[in-house]
């Protein structure tokens, strides 16, 4: 599903963020990316659908080598839920925002609308379909953002800090919804409990390298991350 070899990255105004990273993830697997702030987790995740372009190294996602020409194809297969749901939801209504990705894929508007309404129903958001996404609660915003991405039927789902701003009930609800999705998941999180609920394997980042990987409970225990 994901194969990364010797990935390096540095922002123009700072030192190296990723220093020769190797990573693999099998199809159907759910993996947690753990590690301190600034250890490179999000930078790494942003590479997987080409938002950050590979400076050195090789990335293969869903069997496609990431290159400028393959970006569109990769983005169709990789769903990305960003840390700030507010940045993701940008259209005037929840329904329109959910339809955005489908319409970009060329799905006819009427079909996109009915698919979007159906997923909003399963996300318990049907009653908010015509509301402005900015007026939803944090949990609802997160679910709306997730709905817009799941609708595109990605093969791989990447979530960046999905539990930010959520209350314990919202976190549980999100975990249940994610576990219902039978696709590969890569979850960047500081929330060890959430990682335990949603993933089987964890990778621990430190200063732009992978320090350790293994079953999620073992890694959490080893780094005292709970």
């Amino acid at each position: 599903m994901i194969r990364v070899r010797d990935l390096h990255y540095r922002y123009s105004d700072s030192g190296p963020i990723l220093r020769g990273l190797d990573f693999t993830q099998a199809a159907g697997e759910s993996v947690a990316l753990l590690g301190a702030n600034g250890s490179g987790k999000t930078t790494f995740a942003l590479h997987l659908n080409g938002i950050l372009q590979c400076q050195q190294g090789e990335i293969e996602v869903c069997g496609i080598r990431l290159q400028p020409e393959t970006l569109e194809e990769v983005r169709r297969k990789v769903g990305f839920v960003f840390q700030s749901a507010e940045n993701q939801l940008f259209l005037p209504t929840v329904l329109e925002d959910a339809m955005f990705g489908l319409l970009n894929q060329g799905v006819p508007a009427a079909q996109a609308r009915s698919l979007a309404l159906a997923i909003l129903e399963t996300m318990h958001l049907a009653e908010y379909a015509d509301r402005n996404p900015f007026h939803l609660s944090a949990g609802e915003k997160r679910r709306a953002a997730l709905a817009g991405v799941l609708l595109m039927e990605p093969e791989l789902l990447i979530l960046d800090e999905p539990t930010t701003f959520l209350d314990p009930h919202g976190i549980r609800e999100l975990a249940v919804m994610l576990n219902r999705q039978p696709i590969s998941k890569l979850i960047v999180t500081h929330d060890a409990r959430f990682a335990l609920q949603t993933t089987t394997r964890a990778v621990f980042f430190d200063k732009g390298r992978i320090l350790a990987e293994g079953p999620t409970p073992e890694i959490i225990d080893r780094f005292d991350w709970l």
Binding site: F80, F82, N87, Q88, F90, R113
Partner: protein, 215 residues
Amino acid sequence: MKLDSRCSLILLLAYLVALSSIHPGHNLRLALLCVLPLMLLLFSPVAKGEVLAQAAYVLPFSFAIAAVALIRGNTAQAVFFLLRSYISILAVLIVTRLLSTLELLRAMEALGAPRFLIVVTEFLIRYLEVLRREADLMRLAALCRGAAHSKLIASASLGMLFVRSLERSTAIHNSMLARGFNGRLPRMSPLAWRLSDTGALMLGLAVIAGMRWSL
């Protein structure tokens, strides 16, 4: 029943053209044309008092011209400019209350405005909201630190406002890219021109032309 946004836009433009083509002194024509937006206002589901008051916003500008005409002793011309500018903005206000800005932009695009211009405008509107939200957050943060009365802090924070807005707009753009955005905003529902729109357009144009040229 709501008209297609293209139909509304064409009628608005036709009305404004008719209004701009009359000259000072054609008082009856002006009075007749004034009836149209007032009737529309009467039957539209908009806050009537609010729209009438908001239309007065334009008066300082037209008042300036009216004042010049008055000083030159031409009262009729002064009244003409005041009334014509007021009634023009009233018509625009009613239409912009009935249709959203995005609907109007789509209508413009459908009527031949360059798509690139329309997409940039849609983004501009979107980022105005981002700018406003960031400004609100920053003002709140400044207030919490006792900056209520410091104009200096407010001014200095404008730079930061831009920086934050730019960061947020980059984040929004990234999330759009992740959902397959390719530089073209997709259309949620296609515009649908019905027979009733053709009827309304014909009738509207006939009424406007009749009021303008019959007398």
